[in-house]
Symmetry: none
Subunit: 194 residues, 4 copies
C-alpha cells in the first residue's frame, strides 16, 4: 500500500531528524529512532538500507526543500532584492526547522569528504553556493554591487547568517529572526564603517 508506506517513511524521517539533531550521527541510536517513530527496528531497514542512508535521506529531503524555497523566492528579483530574499528565506527556514539546523551545522563542519556513502553535503553546498553567486555576479555586472568576487560575497553572507542563527540557537545572541535579517542587510549593504 503505497500511501501507508509513504506515511511510515515520513514518520521515520521525522523521528530520525529529531534524534540525529539531538545526538549527532554516531550517538544517535537506531532503536531510539524506531521508538520515537513508533515502529520496529526492522521496519526502518525496510525503508532505508543503513543508518547512513537514513541520515542521508534526512539531509537530502530538507536540503532540497530549502533549495526549492530559496530558488522560488529569488526568482525574477533584482540582485539586491534577491540577496535580501535569500537571507530572509534561509533565516525563516531555519527558524522553522531548528532541529534540522543542528544537523546542517554539524554536517557542514564534518565535511563528509571521505565517506562516499553518506550524503555529500560538501558537493551539494558547492553547487548551491555557485548558483547563488550568479545573483551577485549579475549585481556586479549591472553595477549595483561593488566589484567583488561573487562567490566570496555569497560565502560571506551565508557564513555570517549561519553564525548568527547558530548564536541565536545557542542563546548567545538575543535578537529576533527579523532583527537578524535587518542586521545582515545593514552590514552587507552599507558596511560597518561610518
Amino acid at each position: 500500500m503505497a500511501t501507508k508506506e509513504k506515511v511510515s517513511k515520513e514518520v521515520i524521517l521525522k523521528a530520525a531528524e529529531k534524534v540525529f539533531s539531538k545526538y549527532g550521527f554516531h550517538e544517535a541510536k537506531i532503536y531510539k529512532i524506531a521508538e520515537l517513530a513508533g515502529v520496529s527496528v526492522g521496519t526502518i531497514y525496510r525503508f532505508f538500507k543503513s543508518k547512513e542512508e537514513l541520515y542521508s535521506e534526512v539531509l537530502k529531503k530538507k536540503l532540497s526543500e530549502l533549495q526549492k524555497r530559496v530558488e522560488k523566492n529569488i526568482k525574477n528579483k533584482s540582485p539586491d532584492r534577491a540577496l535580501k530574499a535569500y537571507v530572509s528565506t534561509v533565516v525563516d527556514f531555519f527558524e522553522e526547522e531548528e532541529e534540522f539546523f543542528t544537523i546542517f551545522m554539524r554536517e557542514m563542519g564534518s565535511l563528509s569528504i571521505l565517506d562516499e556513502e553518506r550524503f555529500n553535503l560538501s558537493q551539494w553546498y558547492q553547487s548551491y553556493v555557485k548558483k547563488l553567486s550568479k545573483v551577485v555576479e549579475r549585481g556586479v555586472k549591472r553595477g549595483v554591487f561593488e566589484n567583488l568576487d561573487p562567490l566570496a560575497v555569497i560565502l560571506a553572507v551565508s557564513g555570517a547568517m549561519k553564525n548568527l542563527i547558530y548564536a541565536r540557537t545557542k542563546g548567545i545572541l538575543k535578537s529576533s529572526p527579523q532583527e537578524i535579517k535587518e542586521t545582515l542587510y545593514e552590514i552587507f549593504f552599507k558596511g560597518i564603517l561610518k
Copy 2:
C-alpha cells in the same frame, strides 16, 4: 625525564590532531593515533586518561594558542585596525593549522551541549566572541562604526571568515589567504552596495 615526556605528549597531540581532523571524534581510533605517533596504545593512556580527554586537549591547546595570538595582535589598536588584525590573525592561524581548522569546524557544528566531559567549545566560543565584541563596541561609541549590535557584527565577521576559509579548504574558493582578508575588509567596511 621531563623533556622526553613532553616530546611524547607533543607527538601524540600532533598525531591525534591529524587523525581527529581526518576522521572526526567517533571514527578516529586510538590505535590509529598510536600508530601515527609511533607509540603504543598504552603510552597514550599514560598522558591522557581517555579518548575524550585527548580530544579535549587537542582543542584546548590550539584554541588557547589562537586566542593568545588574537589578543596579542588586537591590543592597543584602534577599533578598525583591531578588527582587521583579528581577521588577519585568524585567517593566518587557520592557514597554518589547516588540520585543526577541520576539528574546529566540526566541533563548532556539534555544539557539544550534551557531553559535559568533552571540552565545552560552545562556552569558550561565547566568551571569546563576547571579548571581541568589545572592540566593536568601542568603535561604535567612538563613532567609527555604524550603530549596530556589536555582538552581531563580530558574529557576522567571524562566520563569514570561517565560511571563506572553509570554502578555500574544500577547494570551492580559489582565493589566497591575502585575497580572503582583503575581500572581508572590503565587504565589512564598505558594504557590497555601490
Copy 3:
C-alpha cells in the same frame, strides 16, 4: 515470548554458575559463558547489564533458594530438631549444588566489602545467621541448650558444616553427606569429650 526469554535467561544463569564456579569472578570470561550457554555475547547483555550483575543474579537466585528451603524445613520444629533440620537441609542443598558451593565459599572468603555493586553476601549472611540464631536462643531459653551465645553457636555449626562440605568437595574427607550430618549432630549435641 515470555517463556522463551525465561528459558534463555535460565540457560545463561546455569552456564554462568558453571563458569564462575570453575574460574572465579575475574577469570570467568563472558564469552566462555556465552559459549557454554549456546548464545552470543550480546544475548547475555540483553538479560544482564554487566558481568557483575550476572554474577550477582547467580548468587541471589541460589541463596534465596537455600534460604527458603531452610526456613521451610525448620518451621514449627523444636529447637534441637530445627537445628538438625538446618544442618540436613544445607548439607543436602550443597550436595545438589556443588558448583554453587564453590561460588558461595569463594564469595564468603572475599567478603565483598568494597564492591557496592556486587551482591553483598556479607550482609545477607549476617541477617541469615541472625535469624537462625533465634532458633538457638529459643533452645537456650527453654533450657534445652546450654547457656551459650546463640550467635556464636550458629556460627560454629555453620562454619564446621561448611568446612566438612568443603573437605568432601576437595576429596580430603571421604564421608557421605549422611555421615557428615551425623558427625555434626554428635559433635555439637554431645561434645567430643567422653
Copy 4:
C-alpha cells in the same frame, strides 16, 4: 648485599600482604604494592618472577609461621590440652594477623585447584589438617575423646573457629578473642545439649 636484599624482600611482602588483603588477588595492582613498599615496580620483579609468585610467597610465609607456632604449642601436650592449644594459637595468630586472615579466607574459598602456578593452599591445608587429626586420633585411642572420625573433628573445629573469627572481623560477632576461645572449648568439649 644479602642483608639489604632481605630487607627489600621483607618490605615488599609486607606491602603485598596489605594490598592483597584489601583488594584480593585480581584487584590488587603491582604498582600499588610497589608504591606502598617504597620500591619500583622493577624491583618487585627482581625478587618475584610474577604477581602469582609474590602472592604465593605471602601465603607460604604466613602459613609456615602459623604452622610452626601451632606445632610448637601442641607439642608434648595431652590430646585435650593440645586441641585447646591449637584453638588458642590460631585465634591469637589471626588476631595479630588480621590482614592475612582476609587473604587466607579468600584463598580457602578459591580452592586454587586449576592454577598450578599459584600456591596450592588446598594441598597445604590437607596435610596440615591431617597432621592435626593425629592429635584427635590419639585422643580417641586413649579414650579421652568420643569415637568420632578424627579428620571430621578437626575440620569441624577448624571450620567453626574460622567462622567465628570471620564474624568477629566483619563485626557480626562482638566477642573478644578470649570469649571466642572459651565458647569453642565449651561447644566442642561438652556439646550444646543440656
